[in-house]
């Protein structure tokens, strides 16, 4: 079965620091990749997604992610974080192989200190 690993459980940054959250998946075939964000007290919402083409995808609020097929990775980045980016971030993978669902990582909590 495929799996998704998010290596950082909790990341604490000061405002204006750069962010990179790691995501690795186990499936070797074609995948669709997603990052979801959950702001405090709010529902999960889609941040960005990758299907094919340019491996660098841009999402809302200045976030971007890079798909590196050789490393089975889809890391999330932001050059300069803001206090409002404090949230929990989930990486998810869809492979369509044996399952028609998304497989989620355990999430990374980001705390941004003003």
């Amino acid at each position: 079965a495929q799996s998704v690993s998010q290596h950082n459980h909790h990341v604490i940054l000061s405002e204006a620091a750069s962010l990179e959250l790691g995501c690795n998946y186990s499936y070797g075939g074609t995948v669709n990749l997603f990052w979801y964000v959950q702001y405090p007290g709010q529902h999960l919402q889609l941040l960005l997604k990758y299907f094919s083409g340019d491996p660098l995808v841009k999402g809302i609020k200045g976030f971007e992610a890079e798909f590196i097929k050789s490393k089975f990775s889809f890391n999330l980045r932001k050059p300069s974080v803001q206090w409002s980016d404090t949230a929990e971030y989930f990486c998810a993978v869809y492979s369509g192989a044996g399952s028609y669902q998304l497989t989620f990582g355990k999430g990374t909590k980001l705390s941004v200190i003003p």
Binding site: H9, N32, F34, Y36, Q42, H43, L44, Q45, L46, K49, F90, A92, Y94, G96, Y100, Q101, L102, F104, G105, K106, G107
Partner: protein, 114 residues
């Protein structure tokens, strides 16, 4: 509807009582998913409905948990004889067909068993 609607938003129940959680997916979405989100545990898959097909119940943690989806639309998750470890946020999501294009999540039901 415009989004995935879940009710109630909060539920406090006594240990041993039964609870029902409701999910109303986006109109036209044939796939519906239930997840459980516990502190530090990420998103735990519970059950998946796809149209009129038999649901994938592989994630239900015990036989105290059951779910149904009537008329291919509204779904109810029932937890019988609730235990304190059932306390969590129960999330519902829907998608047009499969997870290929990601999910739309509801705001969740926070269940507290006292």
């Amino acid at each position: 509807g415009a989004g995935v609607s879940q009710s109630p938003s909060n539920k406090v129940t006594e240990k041993g009582k039964d609870v029902e959680l409701r999910c109303d997916p986006i109109s036209g979405h044939t796939a519906l998913y239930w997840y459980r989100q516990s502190l530090g545990q990420g998103l735990e898959f519970l059950i998946y409905f796809q149209g009129n097909s038999a649901p994938d119940k592989s994630g239900l943690p015990s036989d105290r948990f059951s779910a149904e989806r009537t008329g291919g639309s509204v779904s109810t998750l029932t937890i019988q004889r609730t235990q304190q470890e059932d306390s969590a946020v129960y999330l519902c999501a829907s998608s047009p067909l499969t997870g290929y294009n990601g999910y739309t999540f509801g705001s969740g039901t926070r269940l507290t068993v006292v």
